[in-house]
Symmetry: C2
Subunit: 217 residues, 2 copies
DNA sequence: CGGCGGCTTGAAAGGCATCAACATAAGTGG
DNA sequence: CCACTTATGTTGATGCCTTTCAAGCCGCCG
């Protein structure tokens, strides 16, 4: 069985890593904030969001995890999870005991580099959240999605065509924008023929222009 | 010699890890963006910032690294550094070859958990950058600094008293605020007796109120 | 002591949030 | 499978927070 760890699961005797599978429906919760950290989760298909609710009762999304990505590393140092995690669509995740994960890593040192690679990747992921304008962040967000979906899912996706795995509301909650702003700016991109949208289907028509927008031109 | 890796450097035969020391003066550069990734860096004293310059020529700070922290993980997956790195004050860093680092980790599996712990910590660090208002981000920033400096440096620091390692300009560039906004809000905190400032010396007078502000009350 | 970088304070402009009302899509139950 | 209900997306008007521009002050280093 293939999974987000790649090398991990291709090897027969390593499949025992996976202690359990979770089938989640949209809006179903994988675990809550403050739950004890015991497992990592590899997403087979679907997507997850981590979120918390602030003092005003507003949801703030801290991370998005897509097909073939791994969620859970950020809880290692606390021993418990910081956020709640919810499925954004029909989602299948493999549960991997952190304990078994450590064991395996010790017994197969060649996997170490792979794991450091994956964690390093996550450290750099949301760099674009620092961009200042709504246009920049949304542009960078689309490019990020496109790349992440393309890397791991060549079947239904190209670098230019993909299905939005999140609602505008969630995009807003992730990027720190109002839903209305997301809608307005996406409409504007559409009007300028930079992207095409119908329903959740996104087509990046002028990827260079989009990159320019993300960079602040 | 003690360093950010803790367990690493306390053990004599592991000191060979450190290939070199760098003495940096304020504004001196450790390496530039796109330089090849070869080493991790443990900060003995001082502080570093990672930054890039956007299309408009404005500097954007992506990370702040303080005394006893380790910088470099985020470049592992690319093979080259994403950002330039500059010293914020007189700074001493230990250079650790990533190659030697991997070797050591393989030969001393008990260090694995420690490293995963440290990397996990960094994944959670800048969660507060998502906060929406300037007050919230600045409040959270002060609390974060206070905690990070306190953990690793009980000598000149308490949880409530510390020296600002950065200029207001850099705070702004890190939090995504104009320098003037940083100044204004800090003045406001001061007027409300939530903090005291003289020069770079910060005193958190009402840490609970500050936590409240960070949470959005 | 002079000069420069860093900080402060005011006034004006702009981007985004908020509120509101509506349109459309999706999901549910009969 | 249709009718209803709820969730999601659209569009406009208003206000606020933060940026920007400008000018002056302060503290530090040579």
């Amino acid at each position: 069985m293939q999974c987000a760890f790649g090398v991990f699961c291709l090897n027969k005797d390593e499949v025992k890593l996976i202690s359990k599978h979770h089938h989640l429906k949209r809006k179903e919760i994988l675990h809550s904030a403050n739950d004890k950290f015991k497992n990592l989760y590899a997403i087979q298909y679907g997507a997850l969001k981590t979120y918390e609710t602030d003092a005003a009762g507003n949801e703030v999304i801290h991370g998005l995890y897509l097909k073939n990505e791994v969620y859970g590393y950020e809880a290692i140092h606390r021993g418990h999870h910081l956020f709640s995690v919810e499925a954004l669509s029909e989602t299948l995740v493999c549960e991997i005991s952190y304990h078994a994960f450590l064991e395996l890593l010790r017994s197969k040192p060649h996997l170490l580099e792979r794991i450091l690679y994956l964690m390093s990747q996550q450290l750099a992921f949301d760099a674009y959240l620092k961009l200042s304008t709504a246009q920049q962040r949304l542009g960078a967000f689309l490019l990020d999605l496109s790349a992440r979906l393309f890397i791991t899912d060549h079947k239904n996706t190209t670098e230019l065509n993909f299905l939005l795995p999140v609602t505008y509301q969630d995009i807003g909650r992730y990027l720190g924008l109002a839903t209305e702003t997301v809608s307005r700016i996406l409409s504007q991109f559409k009007k300028n023929k930079i992207i095409a949208i119908n329903n959740k289907h996104i087509h990046l028509l002028q990827i260079d222009k989009l990159k320019g927008i993300a960079k602040g031109f």
